[in-house]
Amino acid sequence: MMKNFVEFDNVYKRYQMGEVVITAADGVTFSINEGEFAVVVGLSGAGKTTVLNILGGIDSCDEGRITVGGKDISHLNKRDLASYRRYDIGFVFQFYNLIPNLTAKENVELATQICRESLDADTVLDSVGLSERKNNFPSQLSGGEQQRVSIARALAKKPKLLLCDEPTGALDYNTGKTILKLLQTKCREDGMTVVLITHNSAITPMANRVINMRSGKVISNVVNPNPLPIDEIEW
């Protein structure tokens, strides 16, 4: 179990919007241990997504240093970033971002075909409870099912880090709960490091670590020694 598996060290990210400079990440510093279920919580515009995007290698920081598993990713070139995304990162989005023209299974395969060590698409889909819907197109699936495909797609790559951007944001309460449960189970059972961002602080008790952000700054980074199973949390 590696300590400080993910480490943000004084990371800045600024956007130029016309004549205004917005600082989305303003000296962000935190660390997450391996195998932890970390929740980044904060209001809209607090810089959560920026942090996640930088961590996921789909955005770059202007200043600071980020290491993942001991590897500095803050100064990688585009190609190395793509490799980093390919081999180390699994992404789950609020709006799933499935390829509409591919079936559930094919969406998973899209990820597995580019990885060196990947899980079998069928197995992964079975493990997220979609054995029956493998050959359906996204438009034929419900939101929860689509999100499960999305999670399966991320998991199938056997990533070191699973990043989830408001995965329940577009889902109803119960469906959201099952998705969170799925993520928690994957973290606990497979020892996967999960970073989840949400604006809903009610779900923080389920996390090992809660990072609170506001206005581009980390205002608290609390370890929760006794995370609750999701079933026991209500909001």
């Binding site: 996921g56 390919r86 992404f91 971002n97 023209n101 591919l102 079936t103 075909q113 797609r153």
Partner: protein, 1165 residues
């Protein structure tokens, strides 16, 4: 009216924000409109350039030439014709210059002058450099030749002293003219300087000198400006043509009276002179003929006498020969008789000899036999004698004494016996006597008795033996005696026989001796007879030899005499011949002169005026044809272009409206009217279209016509392009662009507006994935890899775009294929026509007055030229052919070959498609395909033609492949059937031996020295000029390919752009998943490449069809354009399309790399 300010702002911002889309719509419409308008303007600009030029230089509307020239009265007559505005009489002459040993023809014109009625100079030359001639020996020459020949102002042109037997001085005053200026004349718009009847048949260049430099009595040319040019109608208009046509008729009407006047004055005088000369000639001819006749008679007499004498002498010789022959015969008869007899005698002698030999043999045999027999008999006799002697000796020495001894003994025995008997008897008696006969005594008597008997027997035996011995002895003695007797007899006989044989032999010997002596005699006789015969024969032979000698001498003498006689006769004849030849040449010369005079008069006879309008000027009419051709292409290509452009705008605008659906929904929700909402897209579309049209049209109009006219300018001598904008083309094409763009925008907009605002404001769900047909074909689908499956599904996901891309790409390929195909097709004309169909290399035109004999002599001369391969005497003439409707008329060449075999060597008559030979027979004429198309004639149809203004009809028996020009071929026999006349051959077609191809011009020049040949045309030079024309088409092909490329790039760019925009999220997602740039590009481009492939293949077919359409629309009456696309052109079309597609992909690659994952994946607001 409220000011919807924010809406306006929205429109402007929209344009600025989506400037690449706006520009691309603008560009595609601009290109199409510019291309279309530009090309459509090329043709009118070309015509206008020419029109202005001709107008500025006052090109004559009508030019008149006459077979006899014109005098001032004629000019007055012409002036008086109503329509005539201005008349300029002038001179021209075709003269010869020699440069580097090559004779060339120069056409010398009198410099056009102002006339009394008008200050305009008809056919005014454009002075390019220097000044016009002022002094007598100055000239100006054409600019083209000046450049070509590297001449400069100040150089001198020197003419040969004679032109085809005429003096140059008969035409112009000087032989040398100094070049003082360079000009172009409106009379020549092209670089072809036309044909001439002198020199090598083609004019090299023209020059102009002052008119009073000509010393020709009558004007040679008359140039006329008519009401047509002053009426202000455009030179190339139908109106103008109609007007001039009428004017030509009016002037032709005048020509009759002018010719009549000429006939009664000038011609009549000349005729009278000729008649006098003819009479004188006839007298002289008669005189000469009489003299010759006298000489001939004398010669004939001499010949006869000579012949008589010779005959007599020969008769005598013949008699002597006959006698000699008789003597020879006799001798030989005698000889044979004698030898016969001798032979007989010899035979007899031989027989006798043989007989004698036989007898001799017989005698010898007989003697031998006799001797043998005698000796045999002797030896027998001797043997018998010896035997006898032996027997005798034995008998008397042994046998007889022995026997006598025995006998004695016997006697003794007998006597003993007898004693015994007697004793016994005595005893017996005694005993008996004893009478005491006791038994003993009885036994003793008995025993004595038996003894007595025994003695008795013994005695008997002895007695018998004795007798026998005695008898035998006697017998022996007798036998000996007998033998002695026999022996003696034999001896006697032997002696007798011996004597007899000896006597006979002796006789025979005597006879033989007699015969021998006879034989000897015979031999002697025979030999003496032979000797006598021999001597006789020798004397006969020597007599004959003598006679022969005599005869030979006689013969020799005769030969000598004959020789002398013949020599004399020959001399006489030669004298006569030379006299005759002298007379003949003298007469011929005189006749030639007379003929020349006659020719001169006959050329003056049937005087005729030829009144030509401008169509006779090849450049003038060719220009409109070329302009039409440009226009035909100008219609087809850009129209095609425009269609594709419209399709692209359609897609782009539809996409744009779809992208703005949220905005449309919002505006609708806010309460804006449909009209207000649509207005934005309408304005956007129309702004792009209008601006594009204007910019494109502007660029197109100011580049393309100029480029094309100057390309054609390489073939024409024209000033700078006068631009004529084809406004209707501009308006039409711009309207199509605008209407397409706007209608589509509005239509798409309205489609969106039908949906309620709430739905509209939600993002349009991406098109859901669907199973495609291919997935149900399990074996195929199962074998496809993952990316192929994705690509396949994507392809069918956006069917409209699929179709659009395929059509756009196909259009591009089609344009390229058609462009290359056009070049292929046109190149084929020259290659096929002159490589495969036309096999002759030169045509020599013969002087018309030649007789048939002279022509065949000429042909034999041609055949002797080893540089030529095939030679064919033929007829070539112009004829008008009418189709089924009289209005369809075509002017074409009629060609007849004298020798069908040679004809087939030079003219390949075959079907275009099957390449099967089309036979030419005596049942019909063969015509070429283009003509049959234009006049709608099929095999078996009857056509009407005019030969030398007489109408005829003929059958069409075949249609053949031909590209350049129109031809009708028939056999001389069929010509006769059709016209009832014998074909008058007027040309010689020849083929050059391949190894002399380089020196064809020299061969032609060599032959041109022959007076019987008027002109020569070289096919190779025609091919060169055709190829030059075709090469100028290269540029058009290049323009087409360039535009096709532009089209492909714009279409593919637009569509790829839309494709990427629509799938932005998808692309971002796969990038997040860790796809590298190339992998991402591959994911998107795979579709593009497949679509390009499909479109490219479709384009190949489309291109072929497009070319067919273009070919159809540029067909000319005179030329058949075949539709030919080389396989390589298809390859080029396909590869170029791909290259363009790759170019677009390359550009889009960077755009794709720039897609920001963060932005694209942001939650949709």
């Amino acid at each position: 009216m409220k000011n919807k300010k924010s809406l306006k702002k929205n429109i402007i911002r929209e344009i600025i924000n989506t400037k690449s889309r706006f520009i691309s719509i603008m560009a595609i419409i601009g290109i199409s409109v510019g291309f279309y308008t530009g090309l459509r303007s090329a043709s009118p600009s070309m015509v206008e350039t020419a029109r202005q030029y001709l107008n500025d230089q006052h090109l004559a509307d009508i030019s008149i030439i006459s077979t006899v020239g014109f005098d001032d009265d004629d000019i007055e007559e012409i002036k008086n014709v109503d329509c005539v505005e201005q008349v300029m009489p002038s001179y021209s002459a075709d003269l010869i210059i020699t440069q580097e040993n090559v004779d060339s023809v120069v056409r010398v014109y009198g410099l056009p002058q102002t006339t009394d009625t008008n200050t305009d100079v008809i056919n005014e030359p454009v002075l390019i450099e220097g000044h016009l001639p002022v002094k007598d020996n100055e000239c100006v020459i054409e600019s083209y030749y000046l450049r070509m020949a590297n001449l400069k102002i100040g150089d001198t042109i020197r003419f040969n002293e004679s032109v085809e037997g005429k003096e140059t001085a008969d035409f112009i005053k000087h032989l040398e003219y100094k070049i003082v200026g360079v000009v172009d004349t409106p009379m020549y718009l092209t670089y072809s300087r036309g044909n001439t009847t002198v020199g090598n048949g083609s004019v090299l260049f023209y020059m102009m000198i002052k008119p009073d430099e000509f010393c020709i009595e009558r004007y040679t040319n008359v140039y006329v400006r008519t009401r047509a040019s002053s009426a202000g109608v455009s030179d190339y208009s139908d109106e103008y043509a109609d007007m001039v046509e009428q004017d030509v008729k009016d002037i032709e009407a005048v020509s009759g009276s002018c010719v009549e006047r000429f006939n009664v004055t000038t011609l009549a005088d000349a005729k009278k002179e000729l008649a006098d000369a003819q009479k004188e000639y006839a007298d002289k001819k008669q005189e000469a003929e009489e003299q010759i006749a006298d000489g001939e008679k004398q010669l004939a007499d001499g010949e006869k006498e000579f012949a008589d004498k010779i005959t007599e002498a020969e008769q005598k010789l013949a008699d002597g020969q006959k006698e000699l022959d008789n003597a020879k015969q006799q001798l030989s008869d005698g000889q044979s008789e004698a030898s016969e007899k001798l032979e007989e005698a010899k035979q007899k002698l031989t027989d006798a000899q043989t007989q004698y030999s036989n007898a001799q043999n017989q005698y010898n045999n007989a003697k031998l036999e006799y001797d043998t027999k005698i000796s045999e008999a002797q030896s027998k006799l001797d043997a018998a004698q010896k035997e006898y002697n032996n027997q005798y000796t034995i008998f008397y020495s042994s046998t007889k004494p022995n026997a006598e001894t025995k006998l004695t003994l016997m006697k003794a025995a007998i006597d003993g016996c007898n004693d015994l008997i007697n004793k016994t008897k005595t005893e017996i008696e005694k005993l008996k006597s004893a009478e005491l006969l006791t038994d003993d005594i009885r036994a003793k008597i008995e025993e004595q008795n038996a003894k007595l008997d025994e003695y008795q027997n013994k005695l008997d035996e002895y007695q018998k033996q004795y007798d026998e011995g005695s008898r035998q002895l006697a017998e022996g003695e007798a036998a000996l005696a007998d033998a002695k007797q026999q022996l003696d007899a034999a001896q006697t006989e032997f002696e007798e026989q011996k004597a007899f044989g000896a006597a006979q032999l002796n006789d025979a010997q005597n006879q033989l001796n007699d015969a021998q002596s006879q034989l000897e005699n015979g031999k002697l006789e025979y030999e003496s007879a032979m000797t006598t015969g021999m001597i006789e024969m020798q004397s006969g032979q020597s007599k004959i030899t003598e006679a022969e000698k005599e005869l030979e001498n006689g013969r020799k003498e005769l030969e000598e005499q004959k020789k002398i006689g013949l020599e004399t006769l020959k001399l006489a004849r030669e004298k006569l011949e030379s006299g005759r030849y002298e007379a003949k040449t003298g007469l011929e010369e005189a006749e030639e002169k007379l003929n020349d005079a006659q020719d001169a008069i006959s050329s003056l006879e049937n005087a005729k005026w030829y009144v030509y309008d401008r169509d006779e000027n090849p450049g003038y009419s060719g220009l409109t044809e070329d302009a039409d051709r440009v226009d035909n292409i100008a219609v087809v290509f850009p129209a095609f272009f425009l269609i594709v452009a419209a399709l692209v705008c359609l897609t782009t605008m539809t996409r744009m409206v779809e992208e703005r659906r949220t905005e449309i929904g919002t505006l609708k929700a806010l309460g804006y009217s449909n009209f207000d909402i649509c207005k934005k897209y309408f304005i956007y579309g129309s702004a792009a279209a209008v601006v594009g049209s204007i910019i494109g049209g502007f660029i197109g109009v100011f580049t393309l016509p100029d480029v094309i006219v100057s390309t054609y300018g390489m073939m024409y001598i024209l000033p700078d392009t006068a631009l004529v904008i084809s406004w209707d083309s501009f308006v039409m094409s711009a309207l199509i662009g605008i209407v397409c763009t706007c209608t589509v925008a509005v239509a798409a907009c309205f489609r969106e507006l039908k949906i309620n605002p709430a739905t509209l404001m939600r993002p349009k769900a991406p098109k859901p994935g669907k199973r495609i047909l291919l997935e149900y074909i399990k074996p195929v689908w199962a074998h496809m890899n993952f990316t192929s499956k994705v690509t396949a599904r994507n392809l069918f996901r956006y069917k409209a775009r699929f179709l659009m891309t395929v059509i756009g790409v196909a259009g591009c390929t089609a344009l390229i294929v058609a462009g290359f195909g056009l070049k292929d097709s046109l190149t084929v004309i020259a290659d096929r026509q002159y490589g495969e169909l036309t096999k002759y290399d030169q045509i020599y035109a013969l002087s018309e007055t030649e007789t048939a004999e002279k022509k065949s002599y000429l042909i034999s001369q041609f055949r002797k030229d080893e540089r030529l391969k095939n030679v064919l005497l033929g007829y070539q003439g112009w004829t008008d052919v009418y189709g089924k409707e009289k209005a369809d008329k075509m002017n074409l060449h009629i060609i007849i070959g004298q020798d069908i075999e040679e004809f087939e060597n030079m003219f390949v008559l075959r079907d275009r498609k099957t390449h099967e030979k089309v036979p030419l027979d005596n049942d019909g004429a063969v015509i070429n395909e283009r003509m049959s198309e234009v006049l709608n004639i099929k095999v078996g149809d009857t056509i009407h033609l005019t030969i030398d203004s007489d109408p005829y009809t003929c059958q069409v028996s075949g249609i053949i492949e031909n590209y350049a020009g129109n031809y009708l071929y028939m056999t001389p026999e069929y010509y006769r059937t059709v016209t009832g006349k014998v074909c008058k051959y007027n040309v010689v077609f020849t083929g050059t031996d391949p190894q002399y191809k380089d020196v064809e011009r020299e061969i032609a020049n060599d032959w041109m020295k022959n007076d019987d040949i008027v002109t020569v045309a070289l096919i190779s030079e025609q091919v060169e000029s055709i190829k030059d024309t075709l090469n100028s088409l290269d540029f058009i092909v290049f323009v087409m390919i360039f535009c096709a490329g532009l089209l492909a790039v714009v279409v593919l760019y637009n569509l790829t752009n839309i494709n990427i925009a629509e799938r932005m999220r998808e692309i971002a997602t796969i990038k997040v998943l860790g796809f590298y740039n190339l992998e991402t590009a591959n994911y998107v481009y795979r579709e593009n490449i497949i679509l390009t492939g499909v479109g490219g293949v479709a384009g190949l077919f489309l291109g072929s069809m497009l070319l067919g359409f273009i070919i159809q629309s540029i067909q000319m009456d005179m030329v058949m354009f075949p539709k030919e696309i080389a396989p390589l052109s298809y390859v080029y079309g396909f590869l170029l399309t791909f290259a363009f597609s790759m170019l677009v992909n390359f550009i889009m690659y960077f755009k794709m790399n720039k897609i920001s994952m963060v932005e694209s994946l942001k939650s949709i607001e």
